[in-house]
Symmetry: C2
């Protein structure tokens, strides 16, 4: 029987010292999940010869596949090829394909390959290279008894570029790979609420479609996975559209700002933001997306009250009587921003991000939002009692979503806000 | 002889699926490093009974200390207490201190403890609790033969609150803890340049002081570590001040924005930002720091050319003749922002973040910066050929640093920019 266990062995002192947070193993796990496979065990070690050999020997015959990550570079610390050779009981040999790759890589950079460069072409005898389109160090594949060892570089960009070949080799060795997956990006709904809506739905969920969630801030990714291209996935997608369609931003890696940009673009409209408590984050989120200039006209970070007046024309009497965190002030901020910029639609926010500045009447976490057009303006007050960074992120994201909802004629409030709005 | 190896065992299906990036182990590693200890081996497993028991049995007697993270919660998946008991060969028992904690935690939330809550008070017989000031699940310590097992929760905030007691128990078991460490935050200098300046310095570096780096974006942390409170650390700190003092922002977790806020505050000054290519990121970085309202007056995200004119008063003829990415335009943006806001000092940036919008004359990555006061304004052009997100981060950070430098009378250019400025 084929052993289908996949083990992961990560190496590097920087992973043990806490100086680097390992994101490579999540990248590998996601690539494997996309073809229906999972990592069974993950071991992380420093650049320590003895511990690495022990771990290698323990894994050989214990796993069907072992993916190693790190230790392929040109320096003395990079032990992977040497230790895999030792564990497999074969010598290192100059691999012709790897040597060709290193020489071509150096030539493209007009440098003469030195010993350190060429060290990367010495691989365990019998190893096949795994191509590295980005860096000088190739990976390699070596069958040791019943275990296929695959080595990959620690540099995330290089690893990403090599994963398709790695996944193909794994599928070839232990099967899998026939998985069909749809990833939906959503905003404004939590995992438990989405799950409850699906559980309570009159239509039964098809057994062959696995539902998965990946909670991010501020988005929630919903994954539909099957082992076939059955119509069930389309059916489930339709169910989700029916139950939580207004929360769905798009597929794959669509962001909230990207979805809003797309909507603005398709309607030929431009937006403006007037920010107090979010301090520029709404503008920064929109302009982080390439192509922002076609839809984002301007942002006003009117942090001081005097600026709310001088730049956006907020009435000083209103500021004095109602306070900066109030409905009339966000209305006037939005009106001012729309007039000043000539944008079609906009968002204004004013709130208390904390940790200081709260009162009994307006505790930390209180925020007023105004959004829409000169002729169709809406407002909302809510309280998000969390830390400053999270408060700013959630308010900024909600601001973008409220514009998106208005443009698309969706229900005014995301689920999250409808439970909290006061 | 005491075995001083520290092993880490992380559990949770979410860590294997790639849905969660593990930052807990870096947090634990840093806390240990601060007392001169390192993690020797790290194993990550899903919520899998058989694999967890195998790993536990392998670690017992092989490590002096094993820290487990995850699996302490109230659900069926939370197997830690049960499996540690099994591996140690002791039964689970209702721990009185743990039960008291759970009951108090529930009472504070006006809920009646249910079976799931109380499950968290069943610990291996003989275990001592590790207090959890934040959550309902306590951790526990259990000596099994020669190995001290310490369990901690997977929720990062709870883990952070429990680490001091965990570290104390580790020190008590295997020694260490007498380390003295200074962490300096710097901006605008790379690890290799800093190392080279130290290597080339005429004064020898004291042997007892270990120099370490932790590269972040945009800051570089420099760590000085000794096993005693010798005057050598003060001496090294003075050496760093002499060699790269203008890059040092402060100690511990000081951020660039925090350092600038401090400087502005101490000089009683307020700043303004006029942003094009950074799209609000400068304002967002400043306002992410609590207390920003005392020093941050306003931000203008003048993304469209028409807004540069209408809001900041940039001359349309200059925009037409010189282009938006030009020295006269950033000068006029800064003048306009200073006048409109009444702020004392400011920064204006205009550049091409990409991926589109570049030309032969002004390739993607080109940026003009203007900073200072109405009467003392400086400008700089540079090219940062990187991706959009990194470009925006570096330009925004440089903008803050240039104001800091001007306020403190430091050399105009950070090292990074002096190599690239054109």
């Amino acid at each position: 029987m084929t052993n289908t266990d996949i083990h992961l062995l990560l190496t590097g002192d920087e992973l043990m010292s806490g100086d680097t947070v390992d994101s490579n193993s999540a990248m590998i796990a996601q690539a494997l999940a996309a073809q229906g496979q999972a990592i069974a065990e993950k071991i992380t070690l420093g650049d320590d010869r003895e511990r690495l050999v022990t771990a290698l020997k323990r894994t050989i015959d214990n796993a069907g596949v072992m993916v190693m990550n790190g230790g392929l570079g040109p320096t003395q610390d990079d032990l992977t090829a040497e230790l895999v050779a030792a564990a497999a009981g074969v010598p290192l040999a100059l691999n012709q394909e790897a040597e060709k790759h290193v020489r071509e890589w150096c030539a493209a950079r007009s440098i003469e390959p030195n010993d350190a460069n060429l060290k990367q072409a010495w691989l365990p005898e019998g190893a096949a290279i795994i191509h590295n389109p980005q860096g000088s160090a190739v990976g390699f594949a070596l069958q040791v008894n019943r275990t296929l060892i695959l080595t990959t570089p620690g540099v995330p960009g290089e690893l990403r570029a090599m994963l398709p070949e790695v996944c193909e080799r794994i599928t070839h060795a232990i099967g899998g790979g026939a998985v069909h997956r749809v990833r939906l990006q959503t905003f404004g709904i939590g995992e438990s609420t989405a799950q409850a809506l699906i559980d309570e739905d009159a239509e039964p969920w098809p057994e062959g479609v696995v539902l998965g969630f990946r909670a991010g801030i501020p988005q929630l990714e919903i994954k539909l996975t099957t082992d076939s291209l059955s119509p069930d996935v389309r059916h489930c997608r339709a169910t989700l559209e029916r139950l939580i369609g207004d929360h769905i931003l798009g597929e794959d890696d669509t962001t909230l700002a990207g979805a809003l940009q797309q909507t603005l673009r398709s309607q030929g409209k431009k937006m403006v933001a007037a920010e107090s408590c979010t301090g520029g984050l709404i503008a920064a989120m929109m302009t982080a997306e390439p192509g922002a200039s076609a839809v984002f006209e301007a942002g006003f970070v009117t942090y001081a009250n005097s600026i709310k007046h001088s730049v956006l024309g907020v009435d000083p009497t209103t500021l004095e009587n109602e306070g900066a965190v109030s409905e009339p002030v966000v209305r006037q901020m939005l009106s001012g921003a729309l007039k000043r910029s000539g944008a079609d639609i906009g968002i204004a926010v004013s709130g208390i991000a904390g940790p200081d500045g709260g009162s009994d009447d307006k505790p930390v976490g209180t925020v007023w939002l105004a959004w829409g057009t000169i002729n169709d303006m809406q407002t909302l007050k809510t309280i998000l009692p969390t830390d400053r960074a999270m408060f700013q992120k959630l308010v900024a994201a909600a601001g973008l979503d409220l514009i998106r909802r208005q443009l698309l004629g969706l229900p005014k409030l995301p689920h999250y806000f409808s439970r909290r709005a006061i």
